[in-house]
């Protein structure tokens, strides 16, 4: 009897080609009311002397069936998984969902490069108003109304008598009026010049202005600071050159040029900006404004330096951009190039 079941069951197991079919075989023979299970249940009716031998016999059959079931189940599961995986295969070379990719404007990338260097050196980064009054833009910066230096900065005057700032330097004044020394800041923002537009001139462009004020600040500190910036921007080969120049709000004043191993072209000295030691008249103008606001005079007798440069020029030199007008035409084919590392 039992042996017949074993033979039948093993054949049925071998023939089962689905998990459901296998389950049916399992139920038929070793389920709760399966044929083999029933025989085990019927053991109690046998006389005790037969029971042991018969029990061992049936259990052996059952174990053989269970083992076959397990083995067959494993085989069928693997086959089912293989089939599923095969059916799920897709062509991974087809493009994905074209989600948008954004990017930063190249001018702001250059600003970020610059401010990152200065933030590491402990500078605060600030912005300020683009519409200025004559006092902050010129007078307080030691450029009185009659000064020929005004010819250097052709100005967009506004109908109400104010002007579009010609440089970020008025923020030197505004910041010092509101804060006390010692201080280290860089200013970012747009500036305006009444100039015809061409490949290297724009009526609107950007500046980065730096100002450090404290006790015993020297021109050597200024040169070292510009050198740190140059190394941060252009790598360890960068060198800085100072040459005498004139900005009414500095004394002494200088222009600075940077040289570095340019992987994209010829290495040469490139004029990047102007700088100098803060003119005592600027400190005086700040203290006068502070006094008018009821604040203590805290700038006279301090020393400091200031510098200014144009991110457009840096971007043009660094990335080989031929025309300043590219920056504000916002052509997606231009802007889209300034993503990721621009090494």
């Amino acid at each position: 009897m039992t042996e017949n079941h074993q033979q039948e069951a093993l054949e049925a197991i071998a023939q089962a080609d689905t998990l459901d079919g296998l389950q049916a075989v399992k139920t038929k023979y070793v389920g709760k009311s399966g044929l083999v299970t029933k025989e085990l249940g019927a053991l109690g009716k046998l006389p005790p002397e037969e029971r042991k031998a018969r029990g061992a016999q049936i259990n052996a059959v059952r174990q053989a069936i269970d083992a076959a079931l397990t083995e067959r189940e494993t085989t069928l599961k693997r086959a089912a998984l293989d089939a599923r995986l095969a059916s799920e295969a897709i062509d991974v070379t087809l493009p994905g969902l074209p989600l948008p990719a954004g990017g930063l404007h190249p001018i702001n990338r250059v600003y970020d490069d610059l401010t990152r260097i200065y933030e590491r050196l402990g500078y605060a980064v600030i912005e300020g108003p683009e519409v200025e009054d004559e006092h902050h833009n010129f007078e307080a910066l030691n450029v009185p109304w009659y000064h020929p230096a005004r010819d250097l900065q052709d100005t967009f005057w506004l109908e109400d008598g104010r002007l579009l700032r010609t440089h970020t330097s008025p923020m030197q004044i505004r910041y010092m009026v509101d804060h006390e020394p010692a201080l280290k800041i860089v200013v970012r923002g747009k500036v305006y010049r009444y100039e015809a537009t061409d490949a290297t001139h724009e009526a609107m462009f950007h500046q980065l202005e730096g100002l450090v004020v404290g006790d015993g600040i020297s021109m050597a500190d200024l040169k070292g600071t510009i050198a740190e910036m140059a190394r941060g921007l252009y790598g360890p080969s960068a060198k800085v050159r100072f040459q005498p120049s004139y900005y009414p709000f500095t004394e002494p004043g200088a222009d600075f040029a940077v040289w570095w191993e340019n992987p994209r072209g010829e290495s040469k000295w490139l004029e990047l900006g102007g700088c100098g030691m803060v003119h005592p008249n600027v400190f005086k103008a700040v203290d006068d404004l502070r006094e008018a606001e009821g604040k203590p005079r805290v700038y006279e007798g301090k020393t400091g330096f200031a510098f200014g440069l144009g991110p457009e020029r840096i971007a043009m030199l660094k990335y080989g951009i031929p025309d300043i007008r590219y920056f504000y035409a916002n052509d997606p084919r231009v802007l889209g190039q300034f993503r990721g590392e621009l090494g």
Partner: protein, 819 residues
């Protein structure tokens, strides 16, 4: 400023070769903008004399008959402007046939029927100057016909020197030479001095009073009108061409030679830096010169160039003895409006000579004026009259106040030497010139300011070489600057001179060591948040743009933006007449740079200038799908996608975002009235979001929908604190609210939130329905309400809340959609 190398070399005999000069000039703060080679002209260029000049009828050409010397009389045709009216005797540089200039060989050409024997060259063609406008001409008598030009014209190099406004002292050959000699420690050879005067001159001169003010504004006080005036007279001058060496130097320096009298004045200005004015003595009535403020409010003064200028009481004039001068502005104001008839204005002081007094063809006796005028006053007049001359350019920067008599002598000497003039022995010199005062400087302070080690002795030596008189003991430097260094006023100026001559290259590189004052802490916060926002937006797929701040009335009107109130006084182009009052018109313009139908996502942080004042804004724009269709379906754009991006932005900033429906109240004029919302960020209304009004889209030529947002920066923050996450499970209920269609989801959610109180963790809509199963004009919004408490919530706790919510909904006149 342009100067030929040979001139500088004459003053500094051991000047290094021109190839070595560039870094030297740069280190002096007089950078070279260029070095131009002016080779000697080729052999075939002959000085030729015009015997007849005539226009060729029916053409733009002129026919010149020339005496060419060895080649006899020849004819050329030229298209150079003004050639037909050149007087006979004028000398030109004739490029004879067979001569090569640059890459061009010149021959005989037939022009409009005239066989042109070579060409009369321009300065540019000969490479001896920039002017290509006309042919190079020399006054009659300059050279004998047929003289090869190269015999008269040596090769040279012209240095184009950039002079910053502070370096008035360097606006002359002598000034530049002085600096070079001091820097290179070389000998300086002074240019020849004119004959020194003996006794008083015949011209009587009266100057205005000192301490004048203008515009009745005491802060705008002038130091003086004119504080030094020298007059000399020369008789019997044979005016004609100046010697070729002088013409050559003037030409190379960019000035056009005219005649001896004019050229001598210009030459001395280039040589010494002192402008002079030369008058025909016949016009200096009564041998009297008055330097006075304009008598002739509103009257016109004719200048020697043929222009006229309306002078006012604040303009300093040179008058002759016929005029009753006034010497104070007060007097001039008092006289204003009382016309003073008669000629007599010899010139506008320091700016331009008058027609009266002008040197003419028959002038023989001249009065030389060499004076020092107030820079501020002259700059005002020159700016007001729009007259920028080489003279006023120097005066407004600062001419050496002591130079006047010396320059007058030099001009007189040149007129005698080159024009056979008889110099009157006496000279009139009046005024008390103000010279820069003594500066007290500390050598230690200079070293500290520069951060550079320089011996005190070297400082004294440097300053001495620059012409300063340095006294004082030890660390103290008592520095008396030379009269020409009007820019040296404070000890920091002394420090700059020391650094300049010692060499900026010697400056060490150090870093400031500072502990910043507490008032500066946190100053970067606004920039940090701008930066964070910019990067997040880029990560969300927005391309950052930077746009022009300018706008025009037309653009503002097309965009329905606030009319611009901040307007340019001097606009450059019609599309840039004012400052923008909103960001979105700039973004619309930027969107136009994208191909039609393409997805556009733009972001800008920028400043706007509405009536309420300058403000910072963030603008966003979206066009097209969020993801376009490809081989598979894309993701639609539209308001939902745009708003979704804003929600992600808010979530990334940890901000609570709410969009309030704008209905039955003014909608921002940029927006579609039905697709317009107010952006509420952390509880504060900061701007708007919606679809661009279709009429604006049409005006800008933007087809398809455009979604825009404009919000104020900086974004409002929020109070933040850490909260332990609750471990209790949530309880949820669904509720469908039927309300009129014009009730926004936002209003329904707000009501439920307000009524439910703290236990309500979230409200999310999962179905919005309009149709047959609910009344017309109504809409059903089904929401899932998620509650959470400190412990597991029971029905007994949640049910009363739900009853309260249902009651509140019904109290609004809305209803609940039963399942």
């Amino acid at each position: 400023m342009k100067l030929p190398y040979s001139w500088l070399q004459e003053l500094v005999p051991n000047l290094p070769p021109v190839t070595e000069l560039e870094p030297i000039f740069a280190n002096l703060g007089l950078p070279l903008e260029g070095i131009e080679d002016t080779p000697t002209p080729p052999e075939g260029v002959l000085m030729s004399v015009i015997t007849r000049a005539e226009a060729m009828e029916g053409t733009q050409l002129a026919r010149l008959t020339l005496d060419t010397g060895p080649h006899g009389e020849r004819v050329i045709a030229t298209g150079a402007p003004g050639a037909a009216s050149l007087p006979a005797g004028t000398v030109v540089a004739l490029v004879t046939p067979g001569t090569t200039l640059g890459d061009t060989e010149y021959g005989i050409r037939t022009l409009q029927g005239v066989e042109s024997w070579g060409m009369a060259a321009s300065a540019k063609e000969l490479n001896i100057g920039e002017s290509s406008a006309g042919i190079l001409t020399f006054p009659a008598g300059t050279a004998k016909a047929g003289t090869p030009m190269h015999e008269l014209w040596a090769a040279d190099q012209v240095l184009d020197i950039e002079i910053t406004p502070n370096r008035a002292d360097a606006l002359s050959a002598l000034g530049v030479a002085r600096d070079l000699a001091a820097f290179l420690k070389l000998e300086l050879k002074q240019p020849p001095a004119g004959p020194a005067p003996h006794g008083d001159g015949e011209i009587r001169v009266s100057l205005p009073l000192k301490g004048l003010t203008i515009e009745r504004d005491p802060s705008k006080k002038l130091r003086f009108g004119c504080d030094h005036f020298a007059a000399r007279t020369v008789g019997g001058v044979q005016n004609g061409p100046s010697p070729l060496w002088m013409q050559r130097r003037l030409s190379l320096a960019g000035m056009r030679p005219i005649d001896l009298i004019v050229d001598a004045s210009n030459y001395v200005m280039l040589e010494l830096g002192q402008p002079t004015a030369l008058y025909d003595r016949r016009d200096v009535t009564g041998d009297q010169i008055l330097v006075a403020f304009g008598l002739r409010q509103g009257e016109e003064v004719a200048d020697l160039m043929g222009g006229t200028h309306t002078v006012g009481p604040e303009d300093l004039l040179i008058l002759d003895g016929r005029e009753r001068g006034v010497s104070t502005v007060a007097e001039a104001f008092a006289n204003a409006g009382q016309p003073q008839p008669g000629a007599g204005v010899l010139g506008i002081a320091g700016i331009m000579g008058g027609d009266h007094g002008r040197v003419r063809a028959d002038t023989t006796d001249v009065v030389i004026e060499s004076a020092h005028f107030d820079p501020v006053l002259l700059r005002r007049t020159s700016t007001r009259l729009g007259l920028k001359t080489d003279a006023v350019y120097r005066y407004e920067r600062g001419v050496d106040p002591l130079l006047s008599p010396k320059a007058a002598d030099r001009v007189a000497g040149l007129l005698a030497e080159c024009g056979g003039g008889q110099i009157e022995p006496g000279a009139t010199v009046v005024g008390e010139p103000e010279i820069p005062g003594e500066i007290t400087a500390s050598a230690d302070a200079i070293r500290a300011l520069l951060g550079m080690t320089i011996d005190t002795a070297e400082m004294r030596a440097i300053l001495g070489r620059l012409g300063c008189v340095v006294t004082g003991e030890g660390d103290t430097l008592q520095v008396m600057p030379p009269s020409w260094r009007v820019d040296m006023n404070i000890w920091q100026d002394v420090a700059e001179e020391v650094a300049r001559l010692h060499g900026y290259a010697e400056l060490p590189e150090t870093l400031p060591t500072l502990r910043i004052h507490e008032s500066n802490i946190g100053a970067s916060a606004a920039n940090d948040s701008r930066q964070n926002l910019r990067r997040t937006l880029a990560g969300l797929g927005f391309q950052e743009v930077v746009t022009y701040t300018f706008t025009s009335d037309d653009e503002a009107q097309k965009a329905r933006a606030e009319a611009p109130g901040v307007r340019l006084r001097n606009p450059m182009t019609v599309d840039r007449t004012a400052l923008r009052t909103a960001l979105y018109p700039s973004l619309l313009r930027a969107a136009l740079a994208h191909p039609k139908g393409e997805r556009v996502l733009l972001a800008e942080q920028g400043r706007i200038f509405p009536q309420s004042g300058e403000a910072e804004r963030l603008g966003l724009l979206m066009r097209g799908p969020l993801a376009p269709n490809t081989h598979q379906g894309g993701v639609a754009g539209g308001y939902s996608a745009f708003r979704g991006l804003l929600e992600t932005l808010a979530a990334s900033q940890g901000a609570a975002l709410e969009i309030r429906q704008l209905r039955g109240e003014p909608v921002p004029s940029a927006l579609h009235p039905g697709i317009a919302g107010e952006v509420v960020w952390n509880g504060k209304a900061i701007g708007w979001i919606g679809a661009l009004h279709p009429e604006i889209a049409q005006e800008f030529g933007l087809k398809g929908e455009t979604f825009i947002l404009e919000i104020a920066l900086p974004l409002p923050g929020r109070a933040w604190g850490f909260r332990d996450p609750s471990r209790a499970p949530v309880a949820w209920r669904d509720l469908a609210v039927i309300a009129p269609k014009n009730v926004s989801y936002g209003e329904v959610a707000a009501l439920l939130r307000a009524e439910a109180g703290e236990g309500l963790e979230s409200v999310e809509p999962f179905d919005v329905y309009t149709g047959d199963q609910i009344p017309a004009g109504a809409r059903s919004v089904a929401v899932r309400l998620v509650f959470r408490g400190a412990k597991t919530l029971t029905d007994a706790e949640v049910d009363p809340v739900m009853d309260r919510l249902i009651g509140a909904v019904r109290a609004q006149g809305w209803s609940i959609r039963e399942k």
